[in-house]
């Protein structure tokens, strides 16, 4: 009951005119930077930082938080429409979202993404309000051994992602891990595959990789078709999801929200893991008819709900522990410190208006985003009517701008060009990019955590099995490996029997 009272108090804070306006400004800017490739939430928050000096801590935080979760909404728009994932957590949305767009169902895809995100945002806000302190404790229990086992689980699950050959999926995961190894090794400080280029000491940029494998390859592949007519134009279809779409997606949204809320609290890539996990889970358990990879609406609803829920719950470590779970959060902590507030466990008790005001504003912000985004869908869908000869060069230009603005390095554009060539060859070989991306992100994290666990425990391998959470993930990974292998084994035996 106390929490309800606190929430009501928070709503009182969030619903003042001043806070409503800052919340709206944040959400609006967030959507904008999410849709526009190139300017991410980190750059936007950094640019607005001096502006927040003059505001109080509550409006500053409410606005900056709005940019952060607004960008999560906006990021999925480009993923669905033009197959460019703006953020790592919308990579998975491209799989079915863009396929839906090509089949003339861009409207329902965008609609379900917005509605799913809204439902997820509402539930996750309640999770933050009711369970923040115990969830924060859980996040602290995640040591290097737990992270390692979670990554193992994630990588094995990545194979499930593949539409086609399991062998090719494994190969792509491994190739992704290799690409991820470029750069400086955290544990020893050694530079790997750097070729003397200072730009390579931090590894290959995620944005360049994602744009090469999704945006650019998609365009090049489409150029192969002789039919140069304005393909999407004729099949724009309806703008909003039908009741049938809603009914089919409802439980996917719920499951995505649950996974996202839990994984979001893990610092470092929680929201990303959540979107992948939700998609894979859906692919396994959804009721037939299943058309995942070919524009199944559940393949959009689940990961979009998961990444938005994850975006909300990733505030938990920051608000309760003062530990940022990603660069945008680190900036928000910077903004709070400038205001004389050290984020940490005491914020909840010493500055309740800040904590509860922010929690309540997240809910208000999600509502604003829904209201803001639903009418925009019609506009976005019309964008697809733009002829290819204009749309394709625009995608190329936006990809280049996007890659360049990450760190303002020309080198990254060369990198984009090189990676695009590799991506096209892999596309022709029928190798899918999603497992590669997951390997690219999880592989280096897995290595870092494993070696750290080994260093802390002086080379004792049993640590991975003696810690219960870690052991649970490893067992789950083993079971999943069996599930992948069994159909193949059975098929072989049947062939043998027939002979």
């Amino acid at each position: 009951m106390e929490t309800l009272g606190n929430l009501a108090f928070g709503l009182g804070v969030a619903l003042t005119w001043q806070h409503l306006i800052y919340c709206f400004v944040g959400c609006f800017l967030g959507t904008l930077v999410g849709v526009l490739p190139g300017i991410g939430p980190v750059a936007t928050v950094a640019m607005l930082l001096p502006f927040t000096f003059g505001l109080g801590p509550a409006p500053a935080l409410i606005m900056l938080a709005g940019i952060y979760y607004g960008a999560q909404y906006g990021g999925s728009t480009t993923a669905i429409l033009v197959n460019i994932p703006g953020e790592s957590s919308s990579v998975i949305t491209t799989l079915d979202g863009h396929q839906m767009a090509r089949r003339g169902r861009a409207g329902p895809a965008l609609g379900i993404a917005a509605i799913g995100s809204f439902i997820a945002g509402c539930i996750a806000t309640l999770v933050v309000a009711f369970f923040a302190p115990p969830l924060a404790e859980l996040a602290l229990k995640f040591g290097p051994a737990e992270y390692f086992s979670l990554m193992v689980f994630g990588l094995i699950a990545a194979v499930v992602l593949a539409r086609g050959s399991v062998i090719k999926a494994i190969a792509m995961v491994c190739f992704g891990i290799l690409l991820g190894l470029v750069g400086t090794d955290v544990n020893s400080g050694t530079i790997r595959f750097g070729f003397g280029q200072p730009e390579l000491t931090d590894g290959i940029g995620f944005v360049a990789l994602a744009m090469a494998f999704f945006g650019i390859t998609d365009v090049v592949a489409n150029l192969e078709h002789k039919d140069k007519s304005d393909v999407y134009g004729e099949r724009l279809g309806r703008v909003l999801p039908s009741w049938e779409d809603m009914r089919v997606s409802f439980w996917s949204i719920m499951r995505g929200t649950a996974l996202g809320s839990i994984l979001g609290i893990l610092p470092g890539g929680g929201a990303l893991l959540a979107s992948f996990a939700a998609y894979m889970f859906e692919k396994k358990i959804a009721k037939p008819p299943r058309t995942f990879g070919e524009g199944d609406i559940r393949g959009v609803a689940a990961p979009e709900s998961a990444n938005n829920a994850g975006a909300q719950t990733s505030f938990i470590p920051m608000l309760t522990l003062g530990i940022p779970s990603n660069p945008t959060m680190a900036l928000m902590i910077g903004a709070l410190m400038i205001q004389g507030i050290a984020p940490g466990p005491q914020v909840m008790t010493e500055r309740p208006e800040l904590f509860w005001g922010l929690v309540a504003s997240m809910w208000v912000g999600n509502l604003m985003l829904l209201v803001l985004n639903l009418p925009l869908i019609g506009l976005w869908v019309k964008l697809l009517a733009v002829p290819y000869r204009l749309l394709y060069p625009a995608i190329f230009v936006f990809c280049c701008i996007g890659v360049f603005t990450v760190d303002a390095k020309i080198f990254d554009i060369y990198m984009l060009a090189g990676l695009s060539a590799v991506a096209y060859v892999l596309f022709k070989l029928d190798c899918e990019p999603a497992p590669l991306i997951l390997g690219f992100i999880l592989g280096p994290m897995m290595e870092e955590q494993m070696r750290r666990a080994m260093m802390i425990n002086f080379g004792d391998v049993t640590i991975f099995l003696s810690r219960p959470i870690s052991a649970a993930f490893l067992i789950a990974a083993a079971v999943m490996m069996l599930l992948i292998a069994l159909p193949a084994l059975r098929a072989k035996r049947e062939v043998a029997m027939q002979e």
Partner: protein, 320 residues
């Protein structure tokens, strides 16, 4: 004829210089930051930049060019046109530690015209509250009993935090296991969660966890106690000789920038750092402002670089 022309041209250049610095700045000033947004170098640039804009009416653009061991931003800053429109906000590590770690560098200290020191962030040697270590003496005794078996986290290989660790180990004849993380926040989380018994952290990231009872501060790493937490003892007062380090930032112009412009920048920045509201903003993050002259900065960097080079060599620290 040519001689006359040369004389006239150089005369014009000489004339133009004072005029140029009187009107400076006439266009936006860029501050290159070798780190991603959110770090102290970035936030210091933004606070100072906002005030410079107020004073001079020209926008100050903070450009984050992270990566490559800060080579990218530092190299660009060193090679920028020496006209006062491209400055670099560096940290002590970039000018005093990195040169000791790498054989080939795209910049050196002499490529810059120092403007002044900006901010000083104290660091602490912290222990997880569930460990039995209450003082530095406890910890050193533990390290002597099991050499190399006590883990100490840091924000990365070659960080000033790691220097403190190796410096302490060298001066007390002890050995620790260094566990590098990707930045201060993950290291603080690992210490709060009990993955590692010790870490060397910025006092701002340790502070809230200390209040919450998760961490215990054994010592601050500077020679003097922190202004904000005078109750924390220094390493030196607990018997660790000579160790004196904190994470400070500095503002640089490329070498060859007209002296008048460097002086104008130095005077204005020192004025800004003395403003009560600026001090307050920095203090929010547990950071002190430390205005200085260019000469003072130059002397400090040279002295620190010498100390660091000795430690890097003796402890065989590798870059990150």
């Amino acid at each position: 004829m040519r001689l006359v022309l040369t004389a006239v041209v150089s005369g014009l250049v000489l004339l133009a210089q004072p005029a140029q610095s009187q009107t400076y700045p006439t266009k936006p000033i860029h501050i290159l930051v070798p780190y991603a947004p959110g770090g102290i170098a970035d936030i210091a640039s933004r606070i100072v930049g906002a005030k410079l804009t107020e004073a001079w009416g020209q926008p100050v653009v903070v450009e984050n060019r992270p990566g490559g061991n800060a080579f990218i931003a530092m190299g660009a800053g060193a090679k920028a046109a020496p006209d006062g429109y491209t400055l670099t906000m560096a940290t002590v590590g970039d000018v005093a530690i990195t040169p000791a770690l790498f054989k080939e560098m795209p910049y050196k200290w002499d490529d810059f015209a120092p403007i002044g020191t900006i901010s000083d962030a104290p660091m602490v040697w912290a222990a997880n509250a569930n460990t039995p270590y209450k003082t530095v003496a406890d910890m050193l005794a533990g390290a002597k009993a099991q050499p190399g078996r006590l883990s100490v986290g840091s924000p990365g290989n070659g960080s000033i935090n790691q220097i403190v660790l190796e410096w302490t180990a060298l001066n007390t004849g002890t050995q620790f296991q260094h566990i590098p993380y990707k930045g201060g926040a993950p290291a603080a989380a690992a210490l709060a969660g009990g993955d590692i018994p010790f870490a060397i952290l910025a006092s701002s990231s340790a502070g809230p966890q200390v209040k919450a009872g998760r961490l215990r501060v054994l010592a601050v790493t500077g020679a003097r106690p922190s202004k904000f937490n005078p109750e924390w003892p220094t390493l030196q007062s607990q018997g660790v000789k000579d160790v004196d380090a904190s994470n400070w930032t500095l503002l640089l112009a490329p070498k060859g920038t007209p002296k008048a412009i460097v002086d104008k920048l130095q005077a204005e920045v020192a004025k800004i750092l003395a403003m009560p509201d600026v001090k307050e903003r920095f203090a929010g993050g547990g950071v002190e402002t430390i205005p200085s002259t260019g000469a003072e900065l130059d002397a400090r960097v040279r002295k620190t670089a010498q100390q660091m080079a000795v430690i890097v060599e003796k402890a065989k620290i590798k870059p990150d």
